[in-house]
């Protein structure tokens, strides 16, 4: 089973990289981009076959390592 984890800076935490990307898009002529937030995607191949158990395990991984919940939020998607 594969899991995909999306990690984003929490709302309210300034994202200077997203802001730099927004400026660059504007200078390329892509108008109307009001906000850009940059995050990361982490894909995991798991031996686990039970979806509920996989979700629990990946959530624990996010809490312990994959995200820093002081500044980041995460979501887990099983694929």
């Amino acid at each position: 089973m594969k899991a995909r984890v999306h990690v984003m800076l929490k709302n309210g935490v300034l994202d200077p990289q997203g802001e730099a990307v927004r400026h660059a898009l504007g200078s390329l002529g892509f108008d109307g981009v009001e906000k850009v937030r940059q995050g990361k995607v982490i894909e995991l191949d798991l031996a686990e076959t039970d979806a509920a158990s996989a979700r629990d395990t990946v959530t624990a991984m996010c809490e312990k390592l994959l995200a820093n919940t002081v500044i980041e939020s995460y979501s887990v998607e099983l694929v």
């Binding site: 200077p16 990289q17 390592l65 994959l66 820093n68």
Partner: protein, 222 residues
Amino acid sequence: MHAAVIVFPGSNCDRDLAVALERAGAKVSMVWHKDTEMPAGIDFIGVPGGFSFGDYLRCGAIAANSPICRSVISHAERGGYVFGVCNGFQILTETGLLPGALLRNAALKYICKPVGLKVETADSIYTGGYDKGQVITVPIAHHDGNYNVDADNLARLRGEDRIAFSYTDNPNGSVADIAGVLSENRRVLGMMPHPERMAEALHGNAEGATLFAHVVEQLVHA
């Protein structure tokens, strides 16, 4: 006074930190990240600057979960002294020993230059050799030193006099110009600037040496 300095793959200020502690009179043991226990009789742990584990995932995240860090955390939880500089500060926030997190610098650039640091409190073994309000010059060298903490924790840090140092001219976007913070029991300090790189006359000045001298003096007499 016996200090340990942790060495991670990618640490690059470990020797600077060890030399600064030794010149202040400490006995220093270098401790490899795969070790699971500190040498016996350690009074003080230094977590050095650098790029532990290549800054993969997040700065300090992998180091914070390495075997030796469990021992660093239990040392701190027993009331031991832990001092993190630069990447060491990032590691200490990742372990949860210090509040907040270090984000990418607001201007997105790596910054390496001497900065003015205001001593915000003299109430710790680290800052007791300075006067409250004194301004010292110490270099920074980081890409991710933008200290972020939520409003509740900021109010707590201020209320408990736990902001150790602030920038006189904020270089990186840190909340409230914060350059270094203390733990609740005032025994854990994390700071982005490098006092170990301003610790003897050949460095330009020796204002950083005061920190190490005071730490050693206090722990020798403890």
